[in-house]
């Protein structure tokens, strides 16, 4: 109550008073502690201002300007946003490509990751070696992965089309086919499913064994044990995984840069790649800032949506 009235005095003023009164209530020992605490945090506070607060605020400001770096920025109000939403075909195609990629890769990765984790959780000798193998694709760099997949999916001599030809099937052109380019990138990203599986695995191993023992005594089948115990208790992990993968999927970039250059015919012109070209090839810093902010809002919006709905499906013990 009191804090509320103090806050109402005005933002800067109220904050100062709040801080002072909080400080005055401390004993000498507490003040010494607080000073050490602030000192320990000081690198992060400087970093926060320089690497987070300043860039985010500056991006918002730039997004209302036209600016090519050659001359100082000129204020154009909402022009960048109007252009983005009403007359920018590249914005539409990049949004379409990115959304399609998220829709294909995200659910597939979540489901396959869980299935792989269930396999890796089986108690048989030598399982650690398999865990090591399946996690490898998730630790190597996006560039190296992209390069090896260019060669792997080569339409003439690549492994996949060679194997298909053994069955008399003529494989598609993969990255060089208008309809197959985006699914190819999605397949590449699904290849990294081991990263998700490892996190699920940690969640699985955290489920207390006595629950399964009790269910077994009650005569529950394996199937119902999965749906009644495993899945509900895994929802916090699933929730975490969903958010991480969602943010990650929207930020797809390297594959477009290295393999497809956004083609063919903008089929893989992902949003971040568009942003990169606008900012660092065309030097349209104002418009690119607006694009960057739009992507941030989309990612934040999706995250908030997932968090909001999580109360309905995420199970918490306490």
């Amino acid at each position: 109550m009191r804090r509320g009235t103090e806050g109402a005095q005005g933002p800067g003023d109220g904050g100062g008073n709040l801080m002072l009164s909080a400080w005055r209530n401390l004993t000498a020992q507490q003040r010494r502690d607080a000073k050490t605490g602030y000192l320990a945090l000081s690198p992060w506070m400087v970093g926060f201002v320089v690497f987070y607060a300043f860039p985010i605020i500056a991006t918002i400001y730039f997004s209302f300007n036209e600016w090519t770096l050659a001359e100082p920025p000129t204020w154009v109000g909402l022009d960048n946003y109007v252009r983005m939403f009403t007359r920018d075909p590249l914005f539409v195609s990049s949004l379409k490509a990115t959304t399609l990629f998220v829709i294909i890769s995200l659910p597939t990765k979540l489901v396959l990751g869980l299935m792989l984790a269930l396999l890796l959780n089986l108690k048989i000798p030598g399982m650690n070696a398999f865990r090591t193998i399946f996690f490898i694709p998730a630790v190597i760099s996006g560039v190296a992965v992209s390069l090896m997949w260019i060669w792997f999916l080569n339409p003439d001599t690549g492994v996949v089309n060679t194997l298909l030809s053994y069955f008399g099937i003529r494989g598609p052109l993969w990255f060089w086919d208008l309809h197959w380019a985006l699914p190819s990138v999605a397949i590449m990203s699904i290849w990294k499913v081991g990263g998700a599986a490892i996190i699920y695995l940690a969640g699985l191993q955290n489920i207390p064994a006595h629950l399964y023992e009790a269910a077994e005594i009650d005569g529950a089948s394996k199937w119902s044990r999965f749906w009644r115990i495993t899945l509900p208790l895994l929802t916090p992990t699933l929730f975490f995984q969903l958010i991480i993968e969602l943010i990650d999927a929207f930020k797809i970039f390297t594959e477009a840069y290295v393999i497809t250059h956004g083609g063919p015919l903008k089929a893989t012109y992902f949003f971040l790649y568009y942003f990169y070209e606008e900012a660092f090839r065309n030097a349209n810093m104002g418009y690119a800032s607006a694009l960057a902010l739009f992507l941030l809002v989309v990612i934040m919006g999706c995250t908030v949506f997932v968090v909001r709905t999580s109360k309905g499906w995420v199970y918490y013990e306490n």
Binding site: D33, A34, T36, G37, Y38, L39, A40, L41, P43, M45, G47, F48, V50, F51, Y52, P55, I56, A58, T59, F62, L69, L116, L119, I124, F130, I133, F135, P137, V139, I140, S141, G142, V143, A144, V145, S146, L147, M148, F152, D156, T157, G158, V159, W191, I198, L201, A202, N206, T237, F240, I244, I247, K251, F253, T254, Y257, L272, M285, S289, A292
Partner: protein, 296 residues
């Protein structure tokens, strides 16, 4: 000696059912192994194909049907790749960036986490939540202002933009380290304090030595992320001599017609440091990921 026929059949039945169970378990294991091995082969196929290609002769690249394992492995391809592309230079550049980032993380993260884990001060929770929310902010939002800032400071085309942030603590590592420090009993601090240690003495003599698992996670992740980083180096670096390995490989792929047998060798070499670090540290890596997964 008379044997009760009923008892015999009972024990025989028991033995039989035990044998059946063992057989079923064996079959089950065989099926699991078959599935796992098939899956593992499918997953390793792109890497296998890269390794196989790197040992071929140029004319074998387009041969049909392709040779899965080159009958005449050309180990000399690797020497040729190192001669043709400045691979050693690029790997050295990556190594410099990795070391500078690891030093930065080790200097900053434990100190900041110590502040969060051990001291009470006004607005601590607000600051902690602020830090956590920065974990969710996608990095691309900061690129334009930072690029302009570095341009004004004359830091474009130097390693500073790729190194400096590590010295101010990454939120992800600070969170990880704070959670870990909270599990260290405060009695140890108190004992050291009675022995006359100050706040910083406690950190460096008591807490940091106990944080080795968390520090390992910080070092390994910093290694992997710095080695694999692509977006920031292509923005902040221009001179191709200064490229890290990820950018260097993409640079050559984009500009020259590729001799794939050499290039696949180069790509394979570029991931070897990652694989080595991964194999040695996987236990910590998975443990670290797991800790985050559960807490998140």
């Amino acid at each position: 000696m008379r044997i009760d026929p009923a008892r015999l059949s009972a024990s025989e039945q028991l033995r039989r059912s035990a044998r059946q169970r063992r057989a079923r378990k064996l079959v089950g294991h065989a099926i699991i192994y078959a599935v796992m091995i098939t899956l593992a082969c499918v997953f390793m196929l792109p890497i296998f194909w890269m390794a196989s290609t790197s040992l071929k002769l140029p004319r074998e690249l387009m041969a049909w049907p392709p040779e899965w394992i080159p009958s005449n492995p050309q180990w000399g391809n690797y020497a040729e790749a190192f001669g043709k592309y400045p691979l050693a230079r690029y790997m050295l550049n990556s190594a410099i960036l990795v070391i500078a980032n690891i030093i930065g993380a080790l200097l900053s993260v434990p100190v900041i986490a110590y502040g969060f884990a051990r001291f009470n001060f006004p607005f601590k929770n607000v600051l902690f939540i602020l830090m956590l929310s920065m974990m969710m902010v996608p990095g691309h939002i900061k690129l334009i202002p930072l690029y302009v800032l570095y341009l004004r400071l004359g830091l474009i085309d130097t390693y500073w933009p790729l190194i400096l942030p590590a010295y101010f603590g990454s939120p992800f590592f600070i969170f990880l380290m704070t959670q870990f420090m909270r599990t260290i009993p405060r009695e140890l601090d108190d004992a050291a304090r009675i022995d006359g240690a100050g706040a910083w003495g406690i950190l460096y003599r008591i807490i940091i030595p106990l944080c080795r698992p968390a520090l390992t996670v910080v070092v390994v992740f910093t290694f992997l992320w710095t080695w694999n980083d692509f977006l920031e180096p292509i923005i902040f670096l221009r001179d191709y001599e200064s490229f890290p390995i990820s950018v260097g490989l993409a640079f050559f792929q984009g500009r020259y017609s590729i001799e794939w047998h050499l290039f696949m060798g180069a790509t394979l070499v570029s991931i070897i440091p990652i694989l080595v670090v991964y194999f040695f540290a996987q236990r910590h890596l998975i443990g670290g990921l797991a800790a985050i997964g559960i807490k998140g």
